[in-house]
Protein backbone atom coordinates (compact mmCIF):
# COMPACT_ATOMS: atom_id res chain seq x y z
CA UNK A 1 0.00 0.00 0.00
CA UNK A 2 1.20 3.52 -0.74
CA UNK A 3 2.01 5.25 2.52
CA UNK A 4 1.02 8.83 1.64
CA UNK A 5 -2.62 9.89 1.77
CA UNK A 6 -4.14 10.50 -1.63
CA UNK A 7 -6.14 13.64 -2.07
CA UNK A 8 -9.29 12.89 -4.05
CA UNK A 9 -9.84 15.57 -6.64
CA UNK A 10 -12.65 13.85 -8.47
CA UNK A 11 -13.68 10.38 -9.47
CA UNK A 12 -13.68 8.92 -12.97
CA UNK A 13 -11.32 11.26 -14.75
CA UNK A 14 -9.08 11.14 -17.77
CA UNK A 15 -7.05 8.14 -16.60
CA UNK A 16 -10.08 5.86 -16.27
CA UNK A 17 -11.30 6.95 -19.71
CA UNK A 18 -7.92 6.37 -21.33
CA UNK A 19 -7.53 2.95 -19.71
CA UNK A 20 -10.98 1.96 -20.92
CA UNK A 21 -10.34 3.21 -24.45
CA UNK A 22 -7.03 1.34 -24.68
CA UNK A 23 -7.99 -1.93 -22.97
CA UNK A 24 -11.76 -2.26 -23.06
CA UNK A 25 -11.66 -2.78 -19.28
CA UNK A 26 -14.13 -0.84 -17.13
CA UNK A 27 -12.34 0.39 -13.99
CA UNK A 28 -15.37 2.47 -12.96
CA UNK A 29 -17.40 -0.73 -12.44
CA UNK A 30 -15.22 -1.87 -9.52
CA UNK A 31 -17.05 -2.33 -6.20
CA UNK A 32 -13.87 -2.89 -4.14
CA UNK A 33 -14.97 -6.39 -3.14
CA UNK A 34 -11.29 -7.52 -3.01
CA UNK A 35 -11.81 -10.84 -4.78
CA UNK A 36 -9.02 -9.86 -7.19
CA UNK A 37 -6.48 -9.18 -4.46
CA UNK A 38 -7.52 -12.32 -2.55
CA UNK A 39 -6.60 -14.53 -5.50
CA UNK A 40 -3.71 -12.54 -6.97
CA UNK A 41 -0.44 -14.53 -6.83
CA UNK A 42 1.72 -11.40 -6.43
CA UNK A 43 -0.55 -9.29 -4.19
CA UNK A 44 1.52 -10.08 -1.11
CA UNK A 45 4.60 -8.38 -2.63
CA UNK A 46 2.82 -5.63 -4.58
CA UNK A 47 3.22 -1.91 -3.92
CA UNK A 48 -0.39 -1.59 -5.10
CA UNK A 49 -2.69 -4.57 -4.76
CA UNK A 50 -5.06 -5.09 -7.70
CA UNK A 51 -8.13 -3.56 -6.01
CA UNK A 52 -6.01 -0.60 -4.90
CA UNK A 53 -4.71 -0.11 -8.42
CA UNK A 54 -8.25 0.01 -9.78
CA UNK A 55 -9.26 2.49 -7.08
CA UNK A 56 -6.27 4.67 -7.97
CA UNK A 57 -7.37 4.62 -11.59
CA UNK A 58 -10.87 5.63 -10.51
CA UNK A 59 -9.33 8.50 -8.56
CA UNK A 60 -7.24 9.61 -11.54
CA UNK A 61 -3.90 9.03 -9.81
CA UNK A 62 -1.86 8.86 -13.00
CA UNK A 63 1.58 9.36 -11.43
CA UNK A 64 1.13 6.66 -8.78
CA UNK A 65 -0.37 4.15 -11.19
CA UNK A 66 2.11 4.55 -14.05
CA UNK A 67 5.09 4.41 -11.67
CA UNK A 68 3.85 1.39 -9.73
CA UNK A 69 5.86 -1.81 -9.64
CA UNK A 70 2.70 -3.90 -9.61
CA UNK A 71 1.80 -3.26 -13.25
CA UNK A 72 5.11 -4.99 -14.12
CA UNK A 73 4.80 -7.76 -11.53
CA UNK A 74 1.36 -8.87 -12.70
CA UNK A 75 1.85 -12.38 -14.12
CA UNK A 76 -1.20 -12.09 -16.43
CA UNK A 77 -2.59 -15.23 -14.76
CA UNK A 78 -6.17 -14.01 -15.40
CA UNK A 79 -7.40 -15.00 -11.93
CA UNK A 80 -8.73 -11.48 -11.22
CA UNK A 81 -10.86 -11.23 -14.34
CA UNK A 82 -12.08 -14.80 -13.96
CA UNK A 83 -13.41 -14.09 -10.45
CA UNK A 84 -14.42 -10.42 -10.70
CA UNK A 85 -18.21 -10.08 -10.19
CA UNK A 86 -18.08 -6.81 -12.16
CA UNK A 87 -15.86 -8.16 -14.97
CA UNK A 88 -13.20 -5.51 -14.51
CA UNK A 89 -10.41 -6.86 -16.68
CA UNK A 90 -7.42 -5.91 -14.54
CA UNK A 91 -5.03 -8.04 -16.59
CA UNK A 92 -5.97 -6.11 -19.74
CA UNK A 93 -5.81 -2.84 -17.79
CA UNK A 94 -2.25 -3.68 -16.79
CA UNK A 95 -1.26 -4.26 -20.41
CA UNK A 96 -2.56 -0.79 -21.28
CA UNK A 97 -0.88 0.74 -18.23
CA UNK A 98 2.45 -0.84 -19.21
CA UNK A 99 2.27 0.83 -22.60
CA UNK A 100 1.29 4.16 -20.99
CA UNK A 101 3.99 3.86 -18.34
CA UNK A 102 6.68 3.41 -20.96
CA UNK A 103 5.36 6.24 -23.13
CA UNK A 104 5.38 8.55 -20.09
CA UNK A 105 8.86 7.49 -18.99
CA UNK A 106 7.52 6.35 -15.61
CA UNK A 107 8.63 2.71 -15.58
CA UNK A 108 9.50 1.55 -12.04
CA UNK A 109 13.31 1.40 -11.87
CA UNK A 110 13.36 -2.09 -10.31
CA UNK A 111 11.79 -3.87 -13.26
CA UNK A 112 13.59 -5.29 -16.28
CA UNK A 113 10.41 -6.58 -17.92
CA UNK A 114 10.41 -3.91 -20.68
CA UNK A 115 13.95 -4.90 -21.67
CA UNK A 116 12.96 -8.56 -21.76
CA UNK A 117 9.90 -7.76 -23.87
CA UNK A 118 11.94 -5.69 -26.34
CA UNK A 119 14.59 -8.38 -26.76
CA UNK A 120 11.90 -11.05 -27.15
CA UNK A 121 9.98 -9.13 -29.80
CA UNK A 122 13.05 -8.15 -31.77
CA UNK A 123 13.98 -11.84 -32.04
CA UNK A 124 10.44 -12.68 -33.19
CA UNK A 125 10.57 -9.87 -35.74
CA UNK A 126 13.86 -11.08 -37.17
CA UNK A 127 13.47 -14.84 -36.92
CA UNK A 128 9.73 -15.43 -36.70
CA UNK A 129 10.19 -17.59 -33.63
CA UNK A 130 11.94 -17.29 -30.29
CA UNK A 131 15.57 -18.34 -30.12
CA UNK A 132 15.86 -19.11 -26.42
CA UNK A 133 19.65 -19.06 -26.15
CA UNK A 134 19.81 -15.76 -28.02
CA UNK A 135 17.00 -14.36 -25.88
CA UNK A 136 18.78 -15.16 -22.64
CA UNK A 137 22.17 -13.93 -23.87
CA UNK A 138 20.79 -10.62 -25.18
CA UNK A 139 18.73 -10.05 -22.05
CA UNK A 140 21.75 -10.67 -19.82
CA UNK A 141 23.93 -8.33 -21.86
CA UNK A 142 21.30 -5.59 -21.87
CA UNK A 143 20.68 -5.79 -18.11
CA UNK A 144 24.20 -6.67 -16.94
CA UNK A 145 22.81 -9.69 -15.05
CA UNK A 146 25.56 -11.91 -16.37
CA UNK A 147 26.09 -14.16 -13.39
CA UNK A 148 22.49 -14.73 -12.40
CA UNK A 149 21.51 -18.37 -12.94
CA UNK A 150 24.99 -19.14 -14.24
CA UNK A 151 24.40 -22.80 -13.35
CA UNK A 152 21.32 -23.08 -15.54
CA UNK A 153 22.81 -22.89 -19.04
CA UNK A 154 25.20 -25.88 -18.59
CA UNK A 155 22.35 -27.88 -17.04
CA UNK A 156 20.05 -27.06 -19.93
CA UNK A 157 22.72 -27.88 -22.51
CA UNK A 158 23.33 -31.25 -20.87
CA UNK A 159 19.60 -31.96 -20.87
CA UNK A 160 19.35 -31.06 -24.55
CA UNK A 161 17.03 -28.17 -23.77
CA UNK A 162 19.07 -25.39 -25.36
CA UNK A 163 19.80 -25.86 -29.07
CA UNK A 164 22.75 -23.72 -30.22
CA UNK A 165 21.20 -22.84 -33.54
CA UNK A 166 18.08 -20.76 -33.57
CA UNK A 167 15.01 -21.17 -35.77
CA UNK A 168 14.38 -18.96 -38.76
CA UNK A 169 11.05 -18.62 -40.59
CA UNK A 170 10.99 -17.08 -44.05
CA UNK A 171 9.32 -13.72 -44.62
CA UNK A 172 11.49 -11.43 -42.51
CA UNK A 173 10.79 -8.29 -44.56
CA UNK A 174 7.07 -8.97 -44.36
CA UNK A 175 7.30 -9.40 -40.59
CA UNK A 176 9.20 -6.15 -40.22
CA UNK A 177 6.40 -4.43 -42.12
CA UNK A 178 3.86 -6.11 -39.81
CA UNK A 179 5.63 -4.84 -36.71
CA UNK A 180 5.90 -1.35 -38.19
CA UNK A 181 2.21 -1.20 -39.11
CA UNK A 182 1.20 -2.53 -35.67
CA UNK A 183 3.25 0.21 -33.98
CA UNK A 184 1.38 2.73 -36.12
CA UNK A 185 -1.95 1.34 -34.97
CA UNK A 186 -2.89 -0.60 -38.09
CA UNK A 187 -4.16 2.45 -39.92
CA UNK A 188 -1.67 2.44 -42.75
Amino acid sequence: MIAATIEIGGVGGALASEVKARSGASPMSCLQCLKCSSGCPVASRADLKPHELVRMVQMDQREVVLASRFIWECTSCQTCITRCPQQVNIAAMNDALRVMSRAAGKVAPETTVPVFNDVFLSIVRNRGRVYELGLMASYKLRTGRLLEDADKAPMMFSKGKLPLLGPRVRGRDQRREMFRRAAEGGNK
Binding site: S76, D95, T111, V113, M155
Partner: protein, 288 residues
Protein backbone atom coordinates in the same frame (compact mmCIF):
# COMPACT_ATOMS: atom_id res chain seq x y z
CA UNK B 1 -7.98 -38.01 -37.25
CA UNK B 2 -5.80 -35.06 -38.23
CA UNK B 3 -5.14 -31.52 -36.94
CA UNK B 4 -2.67 -28.85 -37.96
CA UNK B 5 -0.11 -28.72 -35.20
CA UNK B 6 1.12 -25.40 -33.79
CA UNK B 7 4.02 -26.54 -31.56
CA UNK B 8 5.12 -23.09 -30.40
CA UNK B 9 8.70 -21.93 -29.91
CA UNK B 10 9.40 -23.74 -26.62
CA UNK B 11 8.64 -27.15 -28.11
CA UNK B 12 11.65 -26.79 -30.40
CA UNK B 13 13.92 -25.87 -27.47
CA UNK B 14 13.44 -26.09 -23.73
CA UNK B 15 10.34 -28.25 -24.16
CA UNK B 16 11.51 -30.59 -26.87
CA UNK B 17 10.60 -33.44 -24.52
CA UNK B 18 6.98 -32.19 -24.66
CA UNK B 19 7.23 -32.22 -28.46
CA UNK B 20 8.69 -35.71 -28.69
CA UNK B 21 6.28 -37.22 -26.19
CA UNK B 22 3.32 -35.55 -27.92
CA UNK B 23 4.29 -37.11 -31.24
CA UNK B 24 4.92 -40.49 -29.57
CA UNK B 25 1.46 -40.49 -27.98
CA UNK B 26 -0.16 -39.29 -31.22
CA UNK B 27 1.49 -42.15 -33.13
CA UNK B 28 0.04 -44.71 -30.71
CA UNK B 29 -3.43 -43.27 -31.31
CA UNK B 30 -3.19 -42.83 -35.07
CA UNK B 31 -3.55 -39.11 -34.50
CA UNK B 32 -1.91 -37.13 -37.30
CA UNK B 33 -0.32 -33.80 -36.40
CA UNK B 34 1.23 -32.24 -39.52
CA UNK B 35 2.86 -28.93 -38.60
CA UNK B 36 1.15 -25.69 -39.58
CA UNK B 37 3.42 -24.34 -42.32
CA UNK B 38 5.55 -21.31 -41.47
CA UNK B 39 3.84 -20.72 -38.12
CA UNK B 40 5.32 -17.83 -36.17
CA UNK B 41 5.59 -17.06 -32.45
CA UNK B 42 2.27 -16.30 -30.71
CA UNK B 43 3.87 -13.18 -29.19
CA UNK B 44 3.45 -14.44 -25.63
CA UNK B 45 3.45 -11.97 -22.72
CA UNK B 46 6.04 -9.78 -24.43
CA UNK B 47 3.59 -8.84 -27.18
CA UNK B 48 0.46 -8.26 -25.10
CA UNK B 49 2.47 -6.25 -22.57
CA UNK B 50 4.00 -4.07 -25.28
CA UNK B 51 1.59 -3.67 -28.16
CA UNK B 52 -1.96 -5.10 -27.89
CA UNK B 53 -2.52 -4.84 -31.64
CA UNK B 54 0.64 -6.82 -32.39
CA UNK B 55 -0.52 -9.38 -29.80
CA UNK B 56 -3.62 -10.05 -31.93
CA UNK B 57 -1.80 -9.74 -35.27
CA UNK B 58 0.89 -12.39 -34.61
CA UNK B 59 -1.63 -15.21 -33.92
CA UNK B 60 -3.80 -13.95 -36.80
CA UNK B 61 -0.85 -14.35 -39.16
CA UNK B 62 -0.45 -18.04 -38.25
CA UNK B 63 -4.14 -18.89 -37.90
CA UNK B 64 -5.12 -17.28 -41.21
CA UNK B 65 -2.83 -19.80 -42.92
CA UNK B 66 -4.71 -22.79 -41.50
CA UNK B 67 -7.25 -22.85 -44.32
CA UNK B 68 -10.15 -23.43 -41.95
CA UNK B 69 -8.61 -26.57 -40.44
CA UNK B 70 -8.59 -27.05 -36.68
CA UNK B 71 -5.28 -26.11 -35.07
CA UNK B 72 -3.90 -28.28 -32.27
CA UNK B 73 -1.76 -26.64 -29.59
CA UNK B 74 0.40 -28.20 -26.86
CA UNK B 75 1.74 -25.14 -25.02
CA UNK B 76 -0.92 -23.58 -22.84
CA UNK B 77 0.56 -20.09 -23.25
CA UNK B 78 0.32 -20.33 -27.06
CA UNK B 79 -3.18 -21.76 -26.65
CA UNK B 80 -4.20 -18.74 -24.59
CA UNK B 81 -2.75 -16.22 -27.05
CA UNK B 82 -4.28 -17.89 -30.12
CA UNK B 83 -7.71 -18.16 -28.50
CA UNK B 84 -7.57 -14.62 -27.13
CA UNK B 85 -6.76 -13.23 -30.58
CA UNK B 86 -9.64 -15.23 -32.06
CA UNK B 87 -11.99 -13.90 -29.40
CA UNK B 88 -10.91 -10.30 -29.96
CA UNK B 89 -10.99 -10.42 -33.76
CA UNK B 90 -14.28 -12.32 -34.08
CA UNK B 91 -16.01 -9.98 -31.65
CA UNK B 92 -14.84 -6.60 -32.93
CA UNK B 93 -15.18 -5.61 -36.60
CA UNK B 94 -13.06 -2.47 -36.19
CA UNK B 95 -10.24 -4.45 -34.60
CA UNK B 96 -10.55 -7.09 -37.32
CA UNK B 97 -9.99 -4.36 -39.92
CA UNK B 98 -6.94 -3.00 -38.09
CA UNK B 99 -5.46 -6.50 -37.75
CA UNK B 100 -6.08 -7.03 -41.48
CA UNK B 101 -4.11 -3.86 -42.19
CA UNK B 102 -1.22 -5.09 -40.07
CA UNK B 103 -1.13 -8.70 -41.30
CA UNK B 104 -2.08 -8.02 -44.90
CA UNK B 105 -4.82 -10.67 -44.79
CA UNK B 106 -8.40 -10.29 -43.58
CA UNK B 107 -8.74 -12.96 -40.90
CA UNK B 108 -12.17 -13.49 -39.31
CA UNK B 109 -11.00 -15.07 -36.05
CA UNK B 110 -12.71 -18.33 -36.99
CA UNK B 111 -9.94 -20.95 -37.11
CA UNK B 112 -10.81 -23.46 -34.37
CA UNK B 113 -8.04 -23.90 -31.79
CA UNK B 114 -7.91 -26.91 -29.48
CA UNK B 115 -5.47 -27.96 -26.80
CA UNK B 116 -4.13 -31.53 -26.90
CA UNK B 117 -6.01 -32.29 -23.69
CA UNK B 118 -9.29 -31.36 -25.36
CA UNK B 119 -8.45 -33.45 -28.42
CA UNK B 120 -7.45 -36.48 -26.36
CA UNK B 121 -10.35 -36.35 -23.89
CA UNK B 122 -13.17 -35.16 -26.14
CA UNK B 123 -12.38 -35.94 -29.79
CA UNK B 124 -10.53 -39.23 -29.32
CA UNK B 125 -12.09 -40.13 -26.00
CA UNK B 126 -11.08 -42.12 -22.97
CA UNK B 127 -12.48 -45.42 -24.31
CA UNK B 128 -10.18 -45.32 -27.34
CA UNK B 129 -7.20 -44.25 -25.25
CA UNK B 130 -7.86 -47.04 -22.75
CA UNK B 131 -7.37 -49.57 -25.59
CA UNK B 132 -3.78 -48.35 -26.04
CA UNK B 133 -2.76 -48.64 -22.36
CA UNK B 134 -0.34 -51.56 -22.05
CA UNK B 135 1.51 -50.56 -18.88
CA UNK B 136 -0.96 -48.97 -16.44
CA UNK B 137 0.60 -46.48 -14.04
CA UNK B 138 -0.81 -48.38 -11.07
CA UNK B 139 -0.03 -46.85 -7.70
CA UNK B 140 1.37 -43.61 -9.14
CA UNK B 141 -0.16 -40.61 -7.41
CA UNK B 142 -0.17 -37.67 -9.80
CA UNK B 143 -0.93 -34.02 -9.01
CA UNK B 144 -2.40 -32.66 -12.25
CA UNK B 145 -1.25 -29.07 -12.61
CA UNK B 146 -3.03 -26.97 -15.24
CA UNK B 147 -1.52 -23.58 -14.52
CA UNK B 148 -3.20 -20.33 -15.48
CA UNK B 149 -3.88 -20.20 -19.12
CA UNK B 150 -5.75 -23.34 -20.11
CA UNK B 151 -8.85 -22.63 -18.07
CA UNK B 152 -8.74 -18.84 -17.64
CA UNK B 153 -10.59 -16.76 -18.53
CA UNK B 154 -13.33 -19.31 -19.27
CA UNK B 155 -15.27 -17.12 -21.72
CA UNK B 156 -12.19 -17.08 -23.95
CA UNK B 157 -10.69 -20.55 -23.56
CA UNK B 158 -13.93 -22.47 -22.94
CA UNK B 159 -11.65 -25.31 -21.84
CA UNK B 160 -13.07 -26.79 -18.67
CA UNK B 161 -14.19 -25.66 -15.22
CA UNK B 162 -12.05 -22.57 -14.49
CA UNK B 163 -11.50 -23.36 -10.80
CA UNK B 164 -11.38 -27.15 -10.91
CA UNK B 165 -10.50 -28.48 -14.36
CA UNK B 166 -10.44 -32.28 -14.69
CA UNK B 167 -9.45 -33.14 -18.28
CA UNK B 168 -5.87 -34.04 -17.32
CA UNK B 169 -7.09 -35.92 -14.24
CA UNK B 170 -9.36 -38.00 -16.48
CA UNK B 171 -6.44 -38.85 -18.77
CA UNK B 172 -4.19 -39.83 -15.87
CA UNK B 173 -6.94 -42.07 -14.46
CA UNK B 174 -7.32 -43.65 -17.90
CA UNK B 175 -3.58 -44.30 -17.83
CA UNK B 176 -4.08 -46.20 -14.58
CA UNK B 177 -2.63 -43.52 -12.28
CA UNK B 178 -4.37 -41.92 -9.31
CA UNK B 179 -5.12 -38.25 -9.91
CA UNK B 180 -5.03 -36.77 -6.43
CA UNK B 181 -7.36 -34.03 -5.28
CA UNK B 182 -5.49 -30.84 -4.46
CA UNK B 183 -6.30 -27.12 -4.42
CA UNK B 184 -3.42 -25.70 -6.49
CA UNK B 185 -4.36 -27.03 -9.94
CA UNK B 186 -4.67 -23.57 -11.43
CA UNK B 187 -2.35 -21.48 -9.25
CA UNK B 188 0.24 -19.41 -11.12
CA UNK B 189 3.92 -20.55 -11.32
CA UNK B 190 5.27 -17.10 -12.19
CA UNK B 191 5.84 -17.92 -15.87
CA UNK B 192 8.41 -15.74 -17.64
CA UNK B 193 9.41 -13.99 -14.42
CA UNK B 194 11.80 -16.92 -14.22
CA UNK B 195 14.14 -14.69 -16.22
CA UNK B 196 13.21 -11.17 -15.11
CA UNK B 197 12.38 -11.64 -11.40
CA UNK B 198 13.12 -15.17 -10.27
CA UNK B 199 12.07 -14.50 -6.66
CA UNK B 200 8.44 -14.40 -7.85
CA UNK B 201 8.81 -17.85 -9.39
CA UNK B 202 10.58 -19.28 -6.35
CA UNK B 203 7.81 -18.11 -4.01
CA UNK B 204 4.98 -19.32 -6.22
CA UNK B 205 6.50 -22.67 -7.17
CA UNK B 206 7.30 -23.30 -3.51
CA UNK B 207 3.58 -22.98 -2.74
CA UNK B 208 2.69 -25.39 -5.55
CA UNK B 209 5.36 -27.99 -4.73
CA UNK B 210 4.56 -27.77 -1.04
CA UNK B 211 0.85 -28.32 -1.62
CA UNK B 212 1.46 -31.22 -4.02
CA UNK B 213 3.68 -32.88 -1.45
CA UNK B 214 1.19 -32.29 1.37
CA UNK B 215 -1.58 -33.81 -0.76
CA UNK B 216 0.49 -36.96 -1.12
CA UNK B 217 1.61 -36.64 -4.74
CA UNK B 218 4.48 -38.76 -6.08
CA UNK B 219 4.92 -36.44 -9.05
CA UNK B 220 3.36 -33.55 -10.95
CA UNK B 221 1.92 -33.58 -14.49
CA UNK B 222 1.98 -30.34 -16.51
CA UNK B 223 0.70 -29.07 -19.85
CA UNK B 224 2.84 -25.95 -20.24
CA UNK B 225 6.56 -25.51 -21.01
CA UNK B 226 6.94 -22.60 -18.58
CA UNK B 227 5.15 -24.40 -15.75
CA UNK B 228 7.28 -27.49 -16.30
CA UNK B 229 10.54 -25.55 -16.45
CA UNK B 230 9.74 -23.51 -13.35
CA UNK B 231 8.67 -26.48 -11.25
CA UNK B 232 11.43 -28.81 -12.47
CA UNK B 233 14.54 -26.76 -13.25
CA UNK B 234 14.02 -24.42 -10.29
CA UNK B 235 13.02 -27.11 -7.80
CA UNK B 236 16.52 -27.37 -6.33
CA UNK B 237 16.67 -23.55 -5.98
CA UNK B 238 13.30 -23.60 -4.21
CA UNK B 239 14.47 -26.35 -1.86
CA UNK B 240 17.57 -24.35 -0.98
CA UNK B 241 15.71 -21.07 -0.54
CA UNK B 242 12.98 -22.47 1.69
CA UNK B 243 14.88 -25.30 3.40
CA UNK B 244 12.54 -27.99 2.12
CA UNK B 245 13.03 -31.27 0.31
CA UNK B 246 10.45 -32.11 -2.36
CA UNK B 247 12.11 -34.40 -4.90
CA UNK B 248 8.97 -34.36 -7.04
CA UNK B 249 9.49 -35.30 -10.69
CA UNK B 250 7.61 -32.91 -12.99
CA UNK B 251 6.42 -34.61 -16.17
CA UNK B 252 4.54 -33.41 -19.19
CA UNK B 253 1.22 -35.26 -19.16
CA UNK B 254 2.19 -36.70 -22.55
CA UNK B 255 5.25 -38.36 -20.99
CA UNK B 256 3.13 -40.15 -18.39
CA UNK B 257 0.50 -41.11 -20.94
CA UNK B 258 3.25 -42.36 -23.27
CA UNK B 259 4.75 -44.47 -20.49
CA UNK B 260 1.35 -46.10 -19.96
CA UNK B 261 1.17 -46.76 -23.70
CA UNK B 262 4.49 -48.59 -23.56
CA UNK B 263 6.66 -45.91 -25.19
CA UNK B 264 10.37 -46.02 -24.29
CA UNK B 265 12.15 -43.50 -22.11
CA UNK B 266 13.98 -42.17 -25.12
CA UNK B 267 10.79 -41.77 -27.19
CA UNK B 268 9.50 -39.65 -24.32
CA UNK B 269 12.80 -37.81 -23.64
CA UNK B 270 12.64 -38.65 -19.95
CA UNK B 271 16.36 -37.88 -19.70
CA UNK B 272 15.52 -34.20 -20.22
CA UNK B 273 13.84 -33.97 -16.82
CA UNK B 274 15.97 -32.29 -14.17
CA UNK B 275 14.42 -34.01 -11.14
CA UNK B 276 15.24 -37.64 -11.91
CA UNK B 277 12.10 -39.75 -12.35
CA UNK B 278 13.71 -43.19 -12.71
CA UNK B 279 13.77 -44.03 -9.01
CA UNK B 280 10.09 -43.23 -8.64
CA UNK B 281 9.09 -45.10 -11.80
CA UNK B 282 11.09 -48.19 -10.81
CA UNK B 283 9.58 -48.16 -7.32
CA UNK B 284 6.15 -48.35 -8.97
CA UNK B 285 7.27 -51.03 -11.40
CA UNK B 286 6.88 -48.71 -14.38
CA UNK B 287 10.49 -47.83 -15.24
CA UNK B 288 12.80 -49.79 -17.42
Amino acid sequence: MSYLFFPGCSLDGTAKDFHRSTLAVAAKLGLELPELKDWICCGSTAAHGTDPLLADALPAKSLSAAGGNTVAVACSACYSRLKTANHHIAGDAALRARVAQVVGVDYDGGTPVLHLLEILCRDIGRARIAQTITRPLAGLRVACYYGCLLARPPEITNFDDAENPTLMDQLMETAGATAIGWPHKTECCGASFSITEASIVLELTNEILSMAKAAGADCIATACPLCQLNLDMRQRDVERRFGRRYNLPVFYFTQLLGLAMGCSSSELSLASLVVEPQGLLESKGIGR
